[in-house]
Each structure stands twice: as structure tokens, then as C-alpha cells.
Amino acid sequence: MYQSILNFKRARYLWLALAVSVMSIATYQWHQPIGMPNGGTWLGYTLGTIGALLIVWLLLLGMRKRSYNSNMGTVQGWTSAHVYLGTALLLIGTLHGGFQFGMNVHTLAYVLMVAVILSGFFGIFVYLKYPNLLTVNRSGDTLDSLLDKVLKIDDRSRRIAATPDLSRLVDSAIDGCEIGGGWWQQLTAKGSSTISIPNAFDSDGQEKSQSNKDQALVIDVLANRLSQLSGGGDEAGAVQGLIANFAAKQTLLRRIKRDVQIRAILKIWLYIHVPISFALLAALITHVIVVFFYW
């Protein structure tokens, strides 16, 4: 009950990874190759073989995750092992190369491997930290129920807009409201909402589309309007109601954007981690072929 991937089954794969690492370091220290330590010694080949097999196995997580009928352990167990053995790979790969780097396909494979592992570290960080933030931000709502609330507020706003100009303003603000968008908008929680202000509220002549980021402009325009309607009356009441509505909408939109943002963060790293893994696989195959046929 309540086991994160890090302490799955009392972190059994941590101990496995540590054992592999300690053995690798010890052997590396003990080994006295002719010349510099490198991938061509018997230890280099051994570590290289272990590393290559590990990479293939780490990649298989993607298959296991989708093999829903499989009874080969649980996906959580696989993920836990993936994390710890993937970390150990950093050490094994480095020792395999004996700290020799250069501008060649071998170092390219190494760099890609490091990039994959580092992006994986980011993934672990995200998986441990963000689920909780998601819950806090939702505070009992779901994305659907939040969107539903926004739609209801919009309906109410359209109904209480008492004058044709107010109606146009409200319609334009609602129609121009944007949530989500491309990956950048999602990650930064920025929308590109727009509004065009009817002349009655802004006498600069041209009605044009302006940024209504965070619903700030529409609230601003309504607040200005309210200050002009000092005598009260129907319109003042309507404007007051609209300000309250847009303020409520603003709060909801912030939560929605935050929700979208967290979901995006929880996913985006995989768009880096997985493609580079495949690039690594390609580089690894090249590396192996080059080593055996052309060295």
C-alpha cells in the first residue's frame, strides 16, 4: 500500500543496481589492462555487452507496458527496475569506455545514452512531485467539471448583458477565450485570448482584436464602464454582475491552465526520453557494427 516506484518491494532493484555498480567499480579498479582502460579489453567487452543488453531491456519497458495480458511481473516492478538499472547504466557505460571520448559515433552513442538517462531523471522528479500538485490544484474538481463551470458562467454572462454593446463585448470576450493550444501554450499555462472592444467602451475609433490575456482587459473595460455609470441603474447592475462573473472565470481559467500545464509536464518529458532512446538504439547498433567490422 502506498509504494512509490522508488521503494517498490523495499527498493529491491536499488540493491540490485548498487550491487552491479559496486562490482563494476571494483573490477574496473582491479583490472590492469595493457595501455589505457578501453572498450577493447576483456572487461571493456564484458561491460559493453552488459550495457548493450541493458539498453535493449530498458527499451522493452515500452512493450511490457502495453502487453496488458502479460503476467511477467507488474508494470510498477518493471518501472522500478527500469529506473534503478537505467541509473546503473550511466556508470557501466562510462566504465566501458574507460573515459575515452572523441568526435566519433562511439561517443555519440554515449552522449545519447547520457541524455536519455538525464531526461529519465527529470521524469522521476516530475512523477514524484507533480501528481500531488495536480490534486491540490483541482481541489475536488475534475477538468471536465471545471470546464463545465466556465460554460455556465459564460451562459450567465450572456444572459445578464443588458445592452447591445455589453452583449457584443461579452460575446467577443467569450468567443475569443482560448484554453490550451500548442505544446508551448500548454507548458507555459499561457492562453492567447483576444477581445475586440466595441466603440462605446473605447473611443479610439477602430474595433480591432486585442489581447485579453488572463481576462484582464475585459475586466478592465468593465471596471471603467462602471466608473462612468455613477448613477446606478440597470446597466450598472449588469456591469457589476459581469465583473463578478469574469473575475470568477479568471480564477477558474487559472486553475484549468494549471491543470493542463501539469498534465503537459507529466507527459512532455516522454516526448524527449523515448525518441532519444530510439536514436540511442540506432547509434548503439552502429557502434557495435563499427567495432566488430572496422576496428
Binding site: M1, S4, I5, Y68, N71, P131, N132, L143
Partner: protein, 798 residues
């Protein structure tokens, strides 16, 4: 007054079959139907719905055709059959009264017309007639009592009368493209489900739907000005209000047919809503000359009803034909060591046990057909301790036995029965029973037993007595022989408590001990003026013993989580048990100590108590296997849903994101495998079962897609789904990107059959539930409610 030999009332499958057979034989007959169409219940099915012809093995015996097909196909076939046989059907003839006796009945219709008949066949089903508006004008063409498809109406002014779920759902469904008002006799919507209540109140407050509260329909008049079709006058506390409308839809519920049936003179054995009228083996009721067939007689399946319609006409003619189910018995009794005819075996079986005494032969026939009669090899396990099976056994010949540690073997001989503990409690088997020498047993599924308990008073009494005796012995007095417990058993009482009812309250005096036999309870303590749940107790646990052992003051409040039944022992009885069983005192003291330790731990974690309350309020107290999601670990990848879909024909049976959360514990929409599954309550083909490990599942072969379980489940975890077409393999998808990926589904062309699907907790997979196995972060877990205390401990414990 027109007079006929046979009057059939109700033109469902049974009634039509009877009418058509009478027509075929050239008998004087009439078939009376209250509504303007035959087969009212089947007419109400959605368009194109596939209707099954279960039980498939039962041969059809009727002049009308019936085989599996769409609703339209079947209705057309029946229509054709009635025309070709020249069946004398009369529509719009609702019956209000029947008087007279065999050979001379007088049927009075609602419109006042009288019809004479020598014999009457009642096939009116159990749906009842919709309650009418009961005001002048309710006979107009556009006043209706049902709504098939809200999308059929556009741009109309529609008044909905009623405040229940049906009325609200209709109002919401129509409001999109019509101007809708809802007319509520009261000042609130008290009867509706929470979801519907939220929808209607928000629609009203937003002005989408207009609502007239405390309004009663006064009359409907045609509108001369032609602006709207009618004017609907409502009487309200402030006077009469005219509402212009084009259509009135009244959803006032149905009048159950029981009272009407009773007014004809037919008797029911008890007040249970599930009770059935007593019938002879020829479907004749206690009123001679009046026969009951179909659902009203307890036979909800179409084919059964049609066969009965045919048979009953034959019986009235004096032809004692063999019932259509005869070949099924030949098959069922194959391999039994009896050289007897079917009827003789049936008689022999019925004579075997006092449990069967009060059952009439017709019901017993059906009962045995539902059951399994078999000879078992000595040493065979009939039921296994710890399994969740819930069938009931009666020994017909030879014996069966349990091994009691320290005591030896206890034998059940001819007439002996077992299995009532699991049947009543919905819990695991409490003992393993083995077949002895020459053992022949009748094994009856839960549903048939429940039906029997509801319709035969004596069965319930005998079972309850056995239950109490065996439960007390298992729990308190394993070493005391049965006869010495008789007095204690006689002094116990079965008590029933509704959900959320307090069984006793902290601070009051009381010295009764309760042993839970159905449901579950929580113990609650007052701490800093707040209630803290300190423990959860399922079936088989007892409480209140501290009152007997101590000063009689209750130190906690015990509350039923769901409808709960307890065996209640008074102080004297409990003391007798303590005297008879020397080890009991010590055991109870240690039980009290253990519980106090848990309670102290829980009291120290008031947040934990709140989490417990939340889990209970979500209805998890009646579950046996509950899916929970730890929100601090869930990354929202939905791999659980994909795994579910991939392992279950492409239809996910869980909705991860929906559902409530509290203290980072999320309860997704997913089956909790209730102790007493609501879904099983009303399944015509008996397709819902409980597997030996407790999983409640739907047999897809048997399901007829009626949707009763979908409506009966309070947790919305069952849905009607089409069976998807096979998908390309994962590798194929990965390499080509063609077809739906993991979790996606693809339908075959023209596939129309929808069947009920729900979680089966992956009962056939040795590795356990796919949702949990597929969760990459360990957020998904499956728990039994009794693990909730540990869950709370791991959440809030130090």
C-alpha cells in the same frame, strides 16, 4: 354483454401466444390490451435493440414465431402471426375489475364496457400501467406518458409533469431544442438521484427550464387562438395559472399491478414486493378458472411466457400435455441413480427435505430446472471454505460431511442442507463440505433461493433458524453440541437496520450483543465534539460485548453502513454461552483488548476517521474488492483504463478520472463487487454470477442486454456496449500506425447487439486485475474494506 370462452388479459408474449393458440383452435376468445399496441414492454425497447431468445435449449411452443432478432423484426413477426391466425385482439381495453367465478366471469373495462368469459388468462406482466394525469383533457392526443426519443421533438412548448428521475431526464433531454417547463406537485425534488437533482436545480436557476412548484394539473383545454395547441391550467397556492403548451408529458410512475390482481381475488403469500401469486402446476391461481402466465407468475423470459400461453389454453381444454420443458429435465436428470419417470423423480426430490414442503409443484419444477441435481463421488468438495460461491445445497440421498477440528465429522443426511451462511451474508464459505457415500445433492443458485425465500414463508423461517444456530456455534461455542444451544437460539432475535441507522449510541445503557449476518457497521466515537470512525466491522464480527462484560454503558456509537441485519443476543443468553464454553471468556477479553487498541490508534488520527467516513459515504462499505487510486502517485497516464479495455474486448470497465476524492484517495467509477450485488437483483436470464474468489461478473453468452443491471447499480459501473471487432496486433500498430492503438476500439460493420459489461476483477487472470498490474507508478490498488484501517494507518499513521 358479449361473452367468450376464454378472455386473455394483456397482450405480451404470453397473452398473444394464448390468444393466437385459441384462435388457431377455433375457440371463442378475446385478447384485451389496455394500450394502443401489443407487447407494451417490448415496444418500449430502444429502436433496433437486439432481443435474445434465451433459454436457447427450451423449445418454442406457440403459433407465433420467435427467434433472436431486432425488436422490429420480432414485433412484425408477432403482428403477422396474429393476423394469420385471426386472433381477436381488442386494443384500448384496460381492465378495471373482474367479478364472478369459473364459467361465469364478468370483466369490466375502464371505459365501462362489460365482457363475459368462462376462463380468464392473466398475462399483464409486472410493469404496471402508467399513472394518469387524472384531470379533464388528459385524453388529448398530445398528452403522453412516455418519451422514446427526445430528439424527435423540436421547437415545441412542452410541459413535463412529475418530479422523479424520469421526469427530470425527459425535461433535460428536451430542453435543448424545446421550451420546457416542469410541473412539480411539491416544493422540492425529493425523490430524484443526486446527479439529476443537480442538473434540474441548475437548469431551473439558469432559466433554461421553468418550474412550477406546488402545482397540480387542473385541466387541459384546446387553445382556440391556435398560438399553442393547448392551454394547461395549473392550480397553485396563488391561484390558477394558464400555461400554453403543445405537448404534455406526464411521468408519474407506474401503478404496480399487484393491487389490481388482488382485487380479482388472487392471493399473494406475503407483503414482499418480490412475492409471486401461488399457482397450480397448470398455472391456475387460487381463483378457479383464472390463470396467470408470464412475468406476473414469475417467468420473465419471452420464450417461457409464450410456451405458457400455449400450454394454458391446452389445459383449459382439458388436455394434460407435457410441459415444453420436459426434454430439459431428461437432460438434467441424466446420470442420476434413479429408475423413475421425470415426475416421479421430481416428487422424490421434493419429499427429500422440509425446506421444500411449502413449494407448489409448478414452482418446484422451475426451481429444479434452475438447480443442478447430481450424484457426487465420495470425497468430492461440494463447497470450499474461503470461496465466494453462494449456491445452496440439499442432500437428497447418501450424505455429505464437514470436518470439525477437535470434534470429528458432522454429517448431513437426506434432507440436510448447507450453504445458507454464504447465501444470506454474501460472504466467503465458512467451511468445506465433502460428499460422502452415495451422495446426491441439489445445488441451487442464489437467485432461485432468494425467489423461494420471498415466496414461501416457511423456507425463510427454517433457513434463519439454521443460520442462527450455526453462526452462534461457529463464533461462540464450537465445542457445544447443537441441542444444548437450542434455548439460546430460541431467545435470539434478528434485527434489521437501515443504512446510517444507529444500532446503539455512545453513553446509553445497553447489554445486547450483536453478531453481524448481513451488511457492515462502523464504530464511531465523539472526540472533541467531532465524530471519529474508529473501526469497520463486516459480516461475522460481533460488537456490544463490552456492555455485557462491563457496566452496561455503551462507550461508542455503532452505525450500519448499509442495510444490516444482526443476530441479537440478550445478556442472559450471552452469559449462558459463556458458561457453556469455558474458553470463550478469555477469547472475548482478548477481542475487546484488540479492538480497543485499534480504536485508540484511530482516535489519535482524526483525519483518518474523516477518510473512513468518506470511503463509507462512497458506498465502499458494501464492497468486497474496491479499486482505489493514490493521487499522490497517479500521473494520469490512463494505462489502467487501456489495460482494462485491452483485456476485456476493447471496452474499459473503469473510469479513472471520474469519481470523488478525499485526502489524496480517489474512488474511480469501477465495480466494488458488493456483498449483495444490486446488479443481480433483477436479471431475467440470471446472467450475473459471483466467482469463487468473490468477483461479480456477467456471463456474456447469457446476457440479453435488457439493461436492468445498469439501472440497478447505484455506482454507475455497468454499461451497455457493443462487442468490438478484432484489432491489429501491438507490433502491427507500432510499425504501421494502422487501426486503433492500445486501449482504442474498433467496431465491426453492422454490429448492433449491445450487452451489459462490467469489471470482473480479471477473475480469469492468474496475475490479478489488469488495471493494477498495468499501473506504472503503483497508484492503483485493490482493497477489501477491512483493509481500510491499514490504509488510514499508512496515510496518517506516525
Amino acid at each position: 354483454m358479449e361473452t367468450f370462452d376464454i378472455a386473455v388479459i394483456g397482450s405480451g408474449p404470453g397473452g398473444m401466444s394464448a390468444g393466437a393458440h385459441a384462435a388457431e383452435l377455433g375457440l371463442s376468445h378475446i385478447l384485451l390490451e389496455g394500450s394502443p399496441k401489443h407487447s407494451n414492454t417490448i415496444q418500449k425497447y430502444q429502436k433496433g435493440k437486439h432481443v435474445m431468445d434465451t433459454p436457447t435449449k427450451l423449445p418454442l411452443r406457440s403459433p407465433l414465431d420467435f427467434s433472436a432478432g431486432t425488436r422490429e423484426y420480432i414485433l412484425d413477426k408477432w403482428e403477422e402471426g396474429m393476423t394469420s391466425t385471426n386472433t381477436n385482439i381488442q386494443y384500448g381495453s384496460e381492465v378495471s375489475a373482474i367479478e364472478g367465478s369459473k364459467g361465469d366471469f364478468t370483466i369490466t373495462l375502464v371505459n365501462g364496457k362489460k365482457i363475459g368469459a368462462k376462463f380468464i388468462i392473466l398475462g399483464i406482466g409486472v410493469q404496471g400501467n402508467p399513472r394518469k394525469l387524472g384531470c379533464p383533457g388528459d385524453e388529448f392526443e398530445h398528452v403522453q406518458y412516455q418519451l422514446d426519443d427526445p430528439d424527435e421533438y423540436k421547437g415545441e412548448r412542452i410541459a413535463i409533469v412529475g418530479a422523479g428521475d424520469a421526469a427530470i431526464e425527459n425535461a433535460i433531454g428536451l430542453a435543448g431544442s424545446n421550451q420546457v417547463c416542469i410541473i412539480n406537485r411539491r416544493d422540492e425534488f425529493a425523490r430524484a438521484k443526486q446527479g439529476n437533482l443537480d442538473l434540474i436545480t441548475s437548469s431551473i436557476s439558469e432559466g433554461v427550464i421553468e418550474c412550477f412548484y406546488e402545482a397540480n394539473p387542473a385541466r387541459i383545454e384546446e387553445n382556440p387562438s391556435d398560438e399553442s395547441r393547448y392551454i394547461f391550467f395549473l392550480s397553485t397556492p396563488t391561484g390558477e395559472v394558464p400555461v400554453p403548451v403543445d405537448r404534455v408529458i406526464a411521468r408519474l410512475g407506474a401503478i404496480p399491478p399487484r393491487r389490481l390482481v388482488e382485487s380479482f381475488g388472487i392471493e399473494f403469500p406475503n407483503d414482499s414486493p418480490a412475492a409471486l401469486p401461488e399457482l397450480s402446476s397448470q398455472y391456475e391461481s387460487n381463483v378457479p378458472g383464472m390463470y396467470v402466465i408470464g412475468a406476473l407468475g414469475g417467468y420473465p423470459l419471452i420464450k417461457q411466457a409464450m410456451n405458457q400461453g400455449y400450454e394454458v389454453v391446452e389445459y383449459i381444454q382439458g388436455n394434460n400435455i407435457e410441459p415444453a420443458d420436459h426434454p430439459l429435465f431428461v437432460e438434467a436428470f441424466d446420470g442420476l441413480p434413479y429408475d423413475k419417470t421425470i415426475d416421479e423423480i421430481l416428487e422424490y426430490l421434493q419429499a427429500s427435505s422440509p425446506i421444500y414442503n411449502g413449494i407448489n409443484p409448478l414452482n418446484f419444477r422451475e426451481f429444479i430446472l434452475d438447480s443442478k441435481v447430481s450424484q457426487r463421488a465420495p470425497g468430492d468438495e461440494l463447497c470450499v471454505k474461503g470461496e465466494f460461491t453462494d449456491s445452496f445445497f440439499v442432500v437428497v440421498d447418501g450424505n455429505a460431511y464437514v470436518k470439525l477440528p477437535g470434534v470429528g465429522e458432522f454429517h448431513f443426511n437426506r434432507g440436510g442442507f448447507f450453504g445458507e451462511q454464504s447465501l444470506i451474508s454474501g460472504r466467503r464459505r465458512t467451511a468445506t463440505v465433502y460428499a460422502g457415500e452415495g451422495c446426491v445433492v441439489v445445488e441451487t443458485p442464489r437467485r432461485s433461493m432468494v425467489k423461494l425465500i420471498n415466496s414461501v414463508e416457511s423456507v425463510k423461517r427454517v433457513l434463519d433458524e439454521a443460520f442462527i444456530l450455526r453462526a452462534l456455534q461457529t463464533k461462540f461455542a464450537p465445542n457445544t453440541p447443537h441441542d444444548q444451544l437450542a434455548e439460546v437460539v430460541a431467545n435470539t432475535e434478528l434485527k434489521t437496520f437501515d443504512a446510517n441507522q444507529n444500532i446503539y449510541t455512545e453513553g446509553e445503557h445497553g447489554d445486547e450483543v450483536h453478531l453481524i449476518r448481513i451488511g457492515s457497521v462502523t464504530s464511531v466515537k465523539q472526540s472533541n465534539k467531532k465524530e471519529v470512525i474508529t473501526s469497520y466491522m463486516p459480516v461475522g464480527h460481533y460488537f456490544g460485548e463490552a456492555g455485557v462484560m462491563g457496566d452496561g454503558m455503551r462507550t461508542d456509537t455503532v452505525r450500519a453502513n448499509v442495510r444490516t441485519e444482526t443476530i441479537c443476543l440478550n445478556k442472559a443468553s450471552f452469559v449462558t454461552l459463556l458458561e457453556k464454553e469455558p474458553g470463550l471468556q478469555k477469547e472475548i477479553q482478548s477481542h475487546v483488548r484488540d479492538r480497543l487498541t485499534v480504536e485508540a490508534r484511530m482516535e489519535a488520527q482524526p483525519k483518518g476517521g474523516e477518510l473512513m467516513s468518506f470511503l463509507m459515504s462512497e458506498g465502499l462499505g458494501e464492497g468486497t474488492d474496491v479499486l482505489l487510486i493514490d493521487e499522490t502517485l497517479c500521473v494520469g497516464c490512463d494505462n489502467c483504463e487501456k489495460a482494462c479495455a485491452e483485456t476485456h474486448d476493447g471496452n474499459s470497465r473503469l473510469n479513472r478520472e471520474a469519481g470523488a476524492s478525499f485526502a489524496d484517495v480517489h474512488v474511480p467509477i469501477s465495480c466494488r463487487h458488493c456483498e449483495h450485488p444490486h446488479c443481480m437483483k433483477d436479471c431475467p436470464p440470471d446472467a450475473i454470477h459471483r466467482a469463487s474468489d468473490g468477483e461479480v461478473f456477467i456471463d456474456q453468452e447469457a446476457c440479453i442486454g435488457c439493461g436492468n443491471c445498469v439501472r440497478n447499480c447505484p455506482y454507475d459501473v455497468i454499461s451497455l456496449q457493443k462487442n468490438p471487432a478484432p484489432k491489429p496486433t501491438l507490433l502491427h500498430w507500432l510499425l504501421t500506425g494502422k487501426g486503433p492503438g492500445p486501449g482504442g476500439k474498433q467496431y465491426a460493420e453492422g454490429e448492433t447487439i449491445k450487452k451489459a459489461v462490467k469489471c470482473d476483477a480479471c477473475k480469469d487472470n492468474a496475475g490479478g486485475a489488469a488495471c493494477v498490474r498495468a499501473c506504472p507508478t503503483g497508484a492503483a490498488m485493490r482493497l477489501n474494506p477491512k483493509d481500510f484501517v491499514d490504509l488510514v494507518g499508512s496515510r496518517f499513521g506516525s
